[in-house]
């Protein structure tokens, strides 16, 4: 099976996929909401967001200062397109397997799992 169009290696790791999936349902979300919803630590989420920001998939806005400091995260158009493409690719893999004749070729190696 070849890589379906839209499959995104950057979004593929489990934590990043969850972060992007949550942000895809929102206009913006607060850092604390994303962290608590996904049961991540501050540092783990910061690391994933930094990677996504470098790729231009998310924007991070910091507002206020001191105890009232709030960090909002937004999925960019580029990030949204990449996520939709990735979901379409995952669906294509599932549908391709469902329509393929039974055989040993169905179970392939998962190099992507190394990133999890």
């Amino acid at each position: 099976m070849s890589i379906p169009t839209g499959f995104d290696e950057l979004i593929h790791p489990a934590t990043r996929l969850s972060v992007v999936a949550l942000l895809a349902a929102t206009e913006w979300a607060e850092f604390a909401f994303v962290r608590d919803s996904l049961s991540l630590s501050d540092s783990a989420l910061s690391k994933q967001l930094h990677t996504l920001e470098e790729a231009g998939y998310v924007e991070i806005h910091k507002e206020g200062g001191g105890r009232k400091r709030r960090t909002r995260v937004r999925l960019t158009d580029r990030g949204r397109t990449a996520f939709e493409g990735h979901v379409a690719a995952l669906r294509a893999i599932v549908e391709g397997a469902a329509s393929a004749p039974p055989g040993p070729a169905r179970s392939e190696a998962r190099p992507g799992a190394a990133a999890r």
Partner: protein, 162 residues
Amino acid sequence: MSAPVDAEQAWRDLQRIRVPQERVYDELERSGSGGPGATWATAALMWVFLAGLGLDPPRWAVVTATAGYVALLAWLAVLANRRRPMRLHRSRYDWRSSVTFFAGALVTGGTVLGTGRLVEPMEPLPGSLVRATVSAAVFVLFLIPANRWATGSLRTRAEAGR
């Protein structure tokens, strides 16, 4: 080059996407239109405004009260928006959200006008209190279940689209 995931893993990833998106709808249901606090505060403001108007104040007082009422409603909206931890993406809303908003305005406005007519034979003070209480009660009784219905339908729509 082979696909980096097999079908089973791809299926698991598709299921994994659902979980964080469910959290977004949970939060939306929890907070409603700014949360129950905002609903009660809006109803209380409406009660004070209508009770005051029913006392037949002079024109300048009506204008001042209306301006104050609108300003306080706007301030409440800003406050509720600031407290939100997220905002649902515009693509996730559907016609039910608009219907809920306009139906809410229609039902509340209709109640204000209807009860205004019904209490005309009464004295101004008890009449205005009855009108304010009934209107604020209808607002709360309509808004809470209507919001729940609209949010529930958004979740159902999102699940159907997956």
